[in-house]
Symmetry: C2
Subunit: 257 residues, 2 copies
DNA sequence: TCAATAGTGTCTTTTAGACATTATATG
DNA sequence: CATATAATGTCTAAAAGACACTATTGA
């Protein structure tokens, strides 16, 4: 922005201002249902990539800010307007050839939603388990949406470590076990219920106790305490996901020459 | 992107495609010089905000990807082309009224650079210590660049915790003390040299020993070992900055009703 | 009763923070 | 010599991971 013809003047056809570009928003909307991480996709009915599944998105209108545009894109496709409990900017993608129609720069957003009670409109919008999208064949997403989705999932995994946003996947009131299953689904690893409970219960401001108790499932079990989201937004200390050892020898001091 | 007239058709003047928008890139280029965090600013010579200092930026050209555009904006203003040791996307800003000339969406980038040997062109580009920009009066940045700068600084502080990017501020070869002073400058807190050494030396792949030794300063002192950046990109375990207690009572277990 | 889930406590290992001590330079 | 900086070691407290045990439900 904000740069007008100055020192290094532009010689091309776009001297003073850059040429014009289309700006869109796309939303990586994630939810956890049945211990599985899912993403909301819509089927494209027009070229390019007609028939392909894509992230819900829309053009940014004149006078419309980016985040409201993303919220509207999500509300239009998912049916429920207030679906997402959290919406944040993910990243912007602007490779020149990413859209065959011309130069289209998209600002991707990341949304966390509790599992929606009804399975969306069922028509041309659907929640997909991430496993369905991974295998070689599977579905091929339109444009560069597979890369955007991968970035969104990685961001979500990192966010759960340092922020309280795991609770954005839970329908209030929720139990500690429900929150733990969110972590397990997003990270794809099992967590020790007792250690997990210790961590979340010792983080001030993360959980607010709600009077009643949960009703056990058909297999029985002790009723669980219920909580609402607290005012805390960051986790201290963080809940770090189990690490696939990054570099070979752990704790090998240096031997300077 | 990628959304063509579908279910919720657009009624306004922009039916099929959105209206056209200018897209720019702006760079928050940071460096550490004399134990101080500094940012590169350029003086605007044209309206709007003529005479104000601003982040270096430029319009994105046809066929040009975003990151190369940011790299070029930085190279043009800072003189040195290969200045930055690291360049990453920060965030995109697109509030409708952020530029009086019309709708301009800017993709902000964050650059880390070793302290440049010469103080830039000196003409209309300068490195500013962050303290110079904080006080009430001080300099007022053009557009929403103050907010972008604040986001960039916060991102830099967070990055130092979990990534090896602190080394991007160091000129190779560097010593452990130089890297520590980078952390102290970016975080604005003093760190224990011994504990800091233990952390960075026990992180595999972070530092590569270089044969020689540093020459002590005029005040003497034992010569320090020298290092290059290693292949590691993430820090395990992280080097967490001292925390301003987020919520009142630390480690207060819950008392469910 | 048993099986299942919730919640608490204990032990060990790891890591962080504070700080003493030794090594090697300049003046 | 004194002073400054680098590098290593030691101690304590906090946190993580593994896991035993008790509590309360449904069948």
């Amino acid at each position: 922005m904000d740069r007008s013809g100055s020192p290094a003047a532009e010689p091309g056809s776009d001297t003073r201002h850059g040429f014009s570009t289309q700006v869109t928003v796309d939303v990586v909307a994630l939810t956890v249902r049945a211990d599985r991480l899912e993403v909301l996709l819509v089927r494209r009915d027009e070229p390019p990539h007609a028939g392909c599944w894509a992230l819900p998105g829309r053009f940014v209108r004149d006078g419309e800010d980016l985040e409201p545009a993303a919220a509207r894109a999500l509300a239009e496709k998912a049916g429920a307007p207030g679906l997402a409990a959290h919406l944040e900017q993910l990243r912007t993608y602007g490779a020149p050839e990413r859209d065959p129609r011309g130069r289209v720069v998209t600002v991707a957003y990341l949304a966390f939603a509790p599992a929606p009670p009804s399975v969306a409109g069922a028509l041309d919008a659907r929640w997909f388990g991430l496993a369905e999208l991974q295998p070689p064949g599977a579905h091929r997403l339109a444009f560069d949406h597979a890369a955007i989705l991968a970035d969104g999932v990685e961001r979500a995994r990192a966010k759960l470590e340092y922020s309280s946003l795991g609770t954005a996947f839970c329908t209030e009131p929720f139990t500690a076990a429900e929150l733990r299953r969110v972590y397990e689904a997003v990270w794809g690893v099992p967590l020790d219920p007792r250690n997990f409970w210790r961590k979340i219960s010792s983080t001030p401001g993360l959980l607010l106790a709600v009077p009643g108790r949960s009703i056990p499932g058909p297999t029985g079990g002790r009723p669980a305490a219920r909580f609402r989201r607290g005012p805390a937004t960051v986790l201290h200390p963080p809940i770090l996901r189990p690490q696939p050892d990054p570099y070979p020898p752990p704790h090998t001091p240096l031997s300077p020459a």
